[in-house]
Symmetry: C2
Subunit: 121 residues, 2 copies
């Protein structure tokens, strides 16, 4: 048996500990937190981490799907770090509380392309 | 934007919709529900779905890490299906509320081996 700290030193993380985990940029600014992530059912591959950002006291937050590969984990901060300026999110693909995207191939390509990543599927 | 039903027809599923999802065996008996799952941080690959099973009204439930590859999704049932008899779980690797396993390589091999699966890492 293990503590959360030990677990962070290992290469696995529990889904229910990813959700709500803070996300920082390279400058150490808190961008938001992980809302949830999207898993490919058949392969079990995580494709997107969805960042909650903006709003006030949890109201009016928007959600930004990020390619999973953009996220690094910083054990010192206890959160994820992405190389991303908050201002970039002004133009980024997002969705609100009223629904979720259909995560079609076109949608995936537009998200990956926005962040300068190759869509690998 | 899409409904949950549409989303189930796609190849992606949201982490917060996997958690709590019922798990059935091939005979349609309800074995339990998904508690959470374990993701490899670097690659984003899901290694284990953790099944909650046993206990009464949520008390005393044990948790059973299952290789993700054992799970199939049944859109008709709205849940996962595994080829597993509840009696097999009597002998299966499990943990309680007081901690989580360390998910070492030895632990992983013992879980995969118990279910007759190759440990692929």
């Amino acid at each position: 048996m293990t503590t959360e700290t030990d677990e962070n030193l290992r290469d696995l993380i529990a889904s229910d500990r990813v959700e709500g985990t803070p996300v920082y940029n390279r400058e150490g600014e808190r961008l938001g937190r992980i809302s949830h992530f999207m898993v490919e059912k058949r392969s079990g591959q995580v494709r997107y981490a969805v960042l909650s950002f903006g709003g006030f006291l949890g109201l009016g937050e928007d959600r930004y799907p990020l390619p999973w590969s953009m996220l690094g984990y910083d054990t010192g901060k206890g959160g994820y770090v992405v190389d991303l300026d908050a201002r970039v999110l002004d133009q980024a693909p997002r969705f609100g509380d009223d629904g979720r995207p259909d995560y079609s191939e076109d949608y995936g390509r537009s998200v990956y392309s926005f962040y300068g990543q190759i869509y690998p599927w």
